[in-house]
């Protein structure tokens, strides 16, 4: 088969089984767009801003486990995509981003729409390529998909100069069947001696704790994690990225940990004697003050990326490997050993956790005449039976979504944790809906975040991706306002959005349904009505209490047991 560079690009995508490509055209990629025009296997989704393309591809990837694919032009097209690439990088999401480049002979001459995108993205990609030779195209695509999806996943950029896709230059095409790189061999199996040591330690624990993260979602290991946790009857907490890795409605789940984690999760972290960290990277929002992180615990850490191990917290038993096979080995070892942890000790530990739980740290004022954001999420959880895909933006609403929507399954909670990118939610929701047309897809957002990628409402209409937008409109950049209240004596410097658009009219202008809800009694009926509109995108503008804060809160630099709790929460001295 003789193909041009542009046709090779499209054929490689077909050979990789790519279903959707999210993109935006421009001069440097027009040959590729012409090749896309002549086929229908790879469906192109035209976004309204290249940032939206990367987030939509990212939402598609997070909800399916398959790589998300993006196509943008050189210069401004590529630089617009950078925020989305960095977002995916921080959360280890597999993306393949194709950027057009100016023709080879003019690279380096400040040509029209030239940007050194390989240089610009170098610190925020897993790897990137500049393809200078049409004969290297197919091999580069094979490598890019392989690198993006294996080991610790991440985004890969392929920069292609326009002349490499020249329709008049054709070469024989064959997609490589396999790929091997002498410099890249991610480990899969954990070291048996380390696993044995870890199991010994776990079986000897008196106050054990499991802390699992995004690696369990990325590594499709929720089943193994659940089996192991139940087998041992250990308490388990999830990071923001790990939610859904263990069923949140289960008795053994103590909630999220970290800055806005539950009282019981953070206290249990502080007091545990053995910590099993699974696919989590000891982020500063999780650990709080490093010097006082799990002060009495021996730590086991399973991670596919050796650089994640002992990066911020020194661990006692490192296990480099893919979570699923490592957890399976652990389960096997425990079962064949016939041993169980000390039942008495475990019983006492659960009793202590029960006391912490009884504080009910997520309680909020249910009698207020203002809409409480927590209430909206609770109602949403009930009405969707906890089974929706939820894409979130960044801010207080993100934390409330994480705290009050109890995810029982992996890949249903999609949010930007590492970079914390406002504007992520709506395009991500569109990507999810394309991948799961029969499922309920919700975008939880705030009035500030939604305006950062609001233009994607047009994309949602064009591709008939009916998502339900829950705008928790507190009039403030609430998360910023909260920090200003706590740390800057309520000097609300530029965190108030004085001129908000009329979101109902805005939604209608984009061809969708808009609703404004400002009384607590209307919350549930509005949600019910919106969920009934199966084939429409509905924008629900909930006017919520502008003074509400996210609790508990471990302020930066504080330790887990030094939480700020909601006003009026009485902590018994015995408990703390």
């Amino acid at each position: 088969m003789e193909l041009s560079g542009a046709e090779i690009v499209v054929q490689c995508l077909k050979d990789e089984g790519v279903e959707y490509i999210f993109g935006y055209p421009g001069g440097a990629v027009l040959h590729i767009y012409d090749a896309l025009f002549k086929q229908d296997d790879v469906k192109h989704i035209l976004v309204r801003h290249e940032q939206g393309a990367t987030h939509a591809a990212d939402g598609y990837a997070r909800s399916t486990g398959k790589p998300g694919v993006v196509l943008v032009t050189s210069g401004p097209g590529a630089t617009n995509a950078v925020t989305g690439i960095a977002t995916a990088y921080m959360d280890s999401i597999p993306l393949v981003v194709i950027t057009g480049q100016v023709p080879l002979p003019v690279i380096g001459s400040d040509a029209f729409q030239e940007a050194d995108i390989v240089g610009i993205t170098r610190p925020c990609v897993k790897h990137n390529f500049l393809v200078k030779d049409i004969h290297k195209l197919a091999e580069t695509f094979k490598k890019a998909f392989y690198i993006a999806t294996t080991g610790r996943p991440g985004p890969v950029v392929i920069d292609i100069p326009k002349d490499v896709t020249d329709p008049n230059v054709k070469i024989p095409y064959e997609y490589p069947r396999s790929v091997s790189l002498r410099s890249y061999n991610p480990s899969v199996k954990g070291h048996p001696i380390q696993i044995k040591k870890a199991v010994e330690l776990m079986l000897s624990a008196r106050r054990p704790m499991i802390y699992s993260g995004g690696g369990v979602i990325l590594g499709n290991a929720a089943d193994e994690l659940t089996t192991l946790t139940r087998l041992l009857d250990f308490p388990i907490t999830n990071t923001l990225m790990g939610l859904g890795g263990y069923p949140a409605t289960d008795r053994q789940f103590v909630g999220m940990l970290g800055m806005h984690g539950t009282y019981e999760a953070n206290m249990a972290m502080h007091d545990c004697d053995v910590l099993l960290a699974v696919g989590a990277r000891f982020d500063d929002r999780v650990t709080g003050k490093i010097a006082e992180f799990c002060p009495g615990a021996k730590i086991i850490h399973i991670d596919v990326d050796p650089a994640s191990i002992s990066k911020t917290v020194k661990v006692d038993i490192p296990i480099v490997g893919d979570v699923a096979p490592v957890l399976a080995d652990m389960i096997e070892l425990i079962k064949t050993s016939g041993r169980t942890p000390d039942a008495e000790a475990l019983k006492a530990w659960w009793a202590r956790i029960g006391q912490w739980r009884s504080l009910d740290c997520l309680r909020y004022d249910r009698s207020s005449d203002r809409i409480k954001p927590q209430f909206v999420i609770e109602q949403l959880w009930e009405l969707t039976r906890g089974d929706a895909f939820v894409a979130s933006d960044v801010g207080q609403h993100q934390m409330w979504a994480a705290q009050y929507y109890k995810f029982d399954k992996p890949r249903r909670w999609v949010n930007s944790g590492g970079l914390g990118t406002m504007g992520f939610g709506l395009p991500a929701a569109i990507g999810i809906k394309l991948a799961h047309p029969q499922e309920e897809v919700i975008c939880i957002t705030g009035e500030a975040s939604i305006q950062m990628c609001i233009q994607e409402l047009a994309t949602a209409l064009q591709y008939r991706t009916p998502v339900k937008i829950v705008n928790l409109n507190n009039g403030y950049m609430g998360m910023v306002r909260q920090w200003q209240e706590f740390i800057y004596e309520s000097r609300y410097s530029h965190s108030y959005l004085e001129t908000l658009p009329d979101f109902v009219k805005l939604a209608e202008a984009y061809g969708h349904v808009g609703m404004r809800i400002d009384r607590p009694a209307d919350v549930r009926p509005a949600l019910e009505e919106a969920l009934k509109l199966k084939d429409r995108t509905v924008f629900m503008d909930f006017l919520t209490d502008p003074t509400e804060n996210v609790y508990p809160m471990v302020e930066s630099g504080k330790a887990h047991h030094e939480m700020r709790l909601a006003p009026g929460t009485a902590v018994d001295r015995e408990l703390a």
Binding site: R122, K126, H127, L130, S183, D305, A307
Partner: protein
Amino acid sequence: MRHIISVLLENESGALSRVAGLFSARGYNIESLTVAPTQDPTLSRMTIVTSGSDEIIEQITKQLNKLIDVVKLVDLSESAHIERELMMVKVRATNGGREEVKRLADIFRGNIIDVTPTSYVIEVTGEKSKLDAFLQALRDEDLIEVVRSGTTGILRGERGLHV
């Protein structure tokens, strides 16, 4: 602690900036960095001299290994090794001073590789400390120019760094 890390990396354009970028982005120290192709034209060998606590050095080697272009690396400072740096020094050498400079060069086993009526260029090779000592021995006012290659190194004995 000072460490010398030897790295084999793909001889691809951009590989060098990935390594340099890693050091600046993560705030690691870099005392010197040298790089050149090896006898296998697909590979370059880089020598990085850096310093940091054990934890930092561990992170540096892990982060380097994570780069797709890095094929293999070894921390030479963990084993018996030899390190060398090349220096070329241009000094003023007039009248009586010429003999003095030549004598110093001999003591440090340096070679005079360029001669004019008023200057010498002296080539000296050795460990960093030897080169530092040579510079100390010269009079500041005689120094016209100093060029150093940065340190390279190799393991002692039969063991080598191969793919």
